[in-house]
């Protein structure tokens, strides 16, 4: 790989003057793609994929430029001036949630083992009813920029903000590393770019979007990407169904005939074998989704609770629709890719690029080179948009929760806040790129599991109980949240994914792969116990709970939309 990088080095200088009009990031992609001799999915550079991706980059940078001129206050930077509509926000939330892992990973899982992929698809939608019925509207009525604001209204701001900011940062950084490593691998394969170049390119583009365009740019990047992804997945599914004369039975029949596991792909397999793991995975998917900080943050971009409600309606509709398409795409990959020698390594007989590439190969098998290019570009755009959302959420925890509300005691000059947010974005971006490169050789799947476990064990219980339990105290929330965070991390380190697979020990001390059931229970139980023991804080907290009740229900006094 090193000779590729060395060969590519002089090129940015040669090309720089041509590309200056576009951005600093484009020359980083361009020469690397042109010079690289690494294998694409089919051993070459896909010109369509590269040009479509460059168009996407050009358009999103244009939007960032436009958004930068409108981003003056911290309300613009964190909440897009609260002027996003429910429909737009629904698309953006769906975009945050539909990562490259959902398209390529779940389709690849279905390609490998059939029915088990459907369990993940269903898990993807399961958290949304909870967000809708219990969280979204109250959160919008009570909060300002981050979910922590809603908690800090009735509890003592400083300790509770420090804890929530830690929960947010741990979840965001773990998720970010997993996305970065996935991005590097994927872009390396799709575009033939060396891994480090891919990670650096993603890093530079994401820092550019977030630093200059804030939430306005991040939202629009997400909306464009979600639209492209839904469009691409729809076309791909229709093409798959056209191949089997629009007979679902025909699609499944063909998949069963061709797959080496035969009829076994039509039933649950070994993905979740013991009941404890099954419930724990379910808990992580439902309550982790309901505690994802970058998703919760989006409810503050709409003008009021009514639009927050519409956001969830549209978001869950898009997500449900998308996962149903992914199911068709996965089975389509079995039916149309299996047995075609051009997609398999002649020596090992494995699918080129691994099972994650099933959907990409399917695009080629179903519609040819042009569509393959389109789907590849959409996959790259997907990663970019998701990491941007995550970075913005992490930056808001650092600048809004920690700097403004803990260090400065609640207020700071506008210019300082926006400047510090930009510095925090830059720092997070650099950390993400560095960790992405450092973890290249690691299997990072457990990081996503841990990110969901932390969201389910710290963010969700604190937010939920602060809105629904009158007796909750600051001491209880902070003690319980810390215990939950520690439990989640400890279960993961001593569990099979790290203790056995990464550290090479023989037997795991904690036997289950998914810690969420245990860590979330630990949080709820300890919050309950410590709140009941804490007589001093109880009265004050209950008084403030009653005071916030009218606001939580009616939205009177909630943070309104920007004037401009």
């Amino acid at each position: 790989m090193n000779h590729v990088i060395a060969g590519a080095l002089p090129a940015p200088r040669r090309l720089a003057h041509c590309a200056r009009a576009l951005s600093v990031a484009v020359p980083l992609v361009l020469p690397a793609v042109v010079m690289a001799d690494g294998p694409g999915p089919r051993g070459g550079i896909n010109v369509t994929a590269v040009s479509m991706f460059l168009v996407f980059v050009a358009v999103t940078l244009g939007i960032t430029y436009w958004a930068a001129r409108r981003t003056r206050t911290s309300q613009d930077f964190y909440a897009a001036g609260r002027s996003v509509t429910g429909f737009q926000n629904g698309l953006a939330i769906a975009g945050d949630f539909m990562s490259a892992a959902s398209l390529l990973g779940v389709a690849g899982l279905i390609y490998m083992s059939g029915y088990d992929g459907l369990i993940y698809a269903i898990g993807g939608i399961a958290g949304w009813p909870v967000i809708m019925f219990l969280l979204a509207e109250r959160l919008r009525n009570l909060g300002k920029y981050t979910f922590t604001d809603a908690v800090a209204i009735r509890l003592d701001a400083v300790p509770v903000r420090v804890l929530s900011a830690c929960g947010t940062l741990v979840a965001v950084i773990l998720y970010l590393i997993a996305q970065m490593v996935g991005a590097g691998k994927l872009v390396e394969l799709l575009f033939g770019v060396p891994y480090e170049w891919a990670v650096v390119t993603v890093g530079i583009l994401m820092i550019t979007y977030v630093t200059f365009g804030g939430m306005i740019a991040t939202t629009w990047v997400q909306i464009i990407k979600a639209t492209l992804l839904l469009f691409g997945a729809t076309v791909l599914s229709v093409l798959v169904l056209a191949h089997v004369d629009f007979s679902v039975e025909g699609l499944f029949q063909r998949a069963v005939d061709l797959h080496e596991k035969g009829l076994a792909i039509m039933r649950p397999g070994g993905l979740v074998s013991d009941p404890v793991s099954a419930i724990s995975l379910g808990v992580a998917l439902v309550f982790g989704t309901a505690g994802l900080p970058h998703v919760l943050m989006r409810f503050f971009t709409v003008p009021n609770a009514h639009e927050a409600r519409r956001s969830v309606l549209f978001a869950s509709g898009f997500i449900g629709y998308f996962y149903m398409l992914v199911f068709i795409i996965g089975f389509g990959a079995i039916a149309l890719v299996t047995g075609k020698p051009e997609y398999f390594d002649p020596v090992t007989g494995q699918l080129l690029g691994g099972s994650n590439m099933a959907a990409i190969h399917l695009a080629d098998a179903a519609a040819g080179d042009l569509f393959l290019g389109f789907i590849s570009a959409v996959a790259f755009a997907t990663i970019l948009a998701v990491v941007s959302g995550l970075t913005l959420s992490g930056a808001s925890a650092i600048s809004h929760d920690i700097y403004v509300n803990v260090v400065c005691g609640g207020s700071a000059p506008e210019a300082d806040i926006v400047r510090l947010s930009r510095i925090a974005t830059l720092a997070l971006g650099v950390v993400a790129v560095a960790l992405g490169i450092a973890f290249e050789q690691q299997n990072v799947a457990y990081m996503v599991v841990l990110a969901f476990a932390v969201a389910a064990s710290v963010n969700f219980p604190i937010l939920f109980l602060s809105m629904y339990w009158r007796r909750l105290t600051t001491f209880g929330a902070v003690a319980g949240g810390s215990i939950g965070l520690a439990t989640a991390v400890a279960c993961m380190i001593f569990g099979p994914a790290v203790w056995v697979d990464t550290l090479g020990n023989e037997r795991a001390i904690f036997p289950y792969k998914y810690p969420a059931l245990f860590s979330m229970s630990a949080t709820f139980i300890s919050i309950f116990v410590f709140s009941m023991l804490d007589r001093r804080g109880a009265e004050d907290s209950a008084r403030r709970f009653d005071a916030q009740l009218v606001r939580a229900h009616t939205g009177i006094g909630a943070e309104g939309a920007a004037e401009h």
Binding site: Y115, R267, A278, G560
Partner: protein, 116 residues
């Protein structure tokens, strides 16, 4: 603002609406979570039940329509929540707030924030 909050908080109509709405939201939450976890537990304990084909001449098993059913039911419950909130709870709440505004003679600082 404080006066307005206190007025609404002590309004029997608001207390009744709050109870009704909370009960409705909790029922929907329990239904949605029961459906999801029943599905997950079926996979864990009785995977072979989901593996039974729908008929003699098909490869489609019970698991396929049930899986899609879980997704569609979740979306259906979300739809039911939106329609009910919109048709029943929103107008009731609007009436309560408007009555309180007249009674206390206050103007909310942020009318945009109420979503009314």
């Amino acid at each position: 603002m404080e006066v307005l909050y206190r007025h609404i908080a002590s309004d029997p109509a608001f207390i009744a609406l709050r109870r009704r709405r909370n009960r409705f939201n909790w029922i929907l939450t329990v239904v949605a979570l029961s459906i999801f976890f029943s599905y997950i537990l079926t996979i864990a304990f009785w995977p072979e039940w989901l593996a039974v084909p729908l008929g003699d001449d098909t490869v489609i098993t019970r698991g396929i329509p049930i899986g899609f059913g879980v997704i569609l039911t979740s979306l259906g419950l979300i739809g039911l929540y939106v329609v009910t909130s919109h048709r029943i709870f929103d107008p009731a709440q609007r009436a309560i707030v408007e009555r309180a505004l007249t009674a206390t003679g206050t103007v909310p600082d942020e009318p945009a924030g109420t979503g009314l």
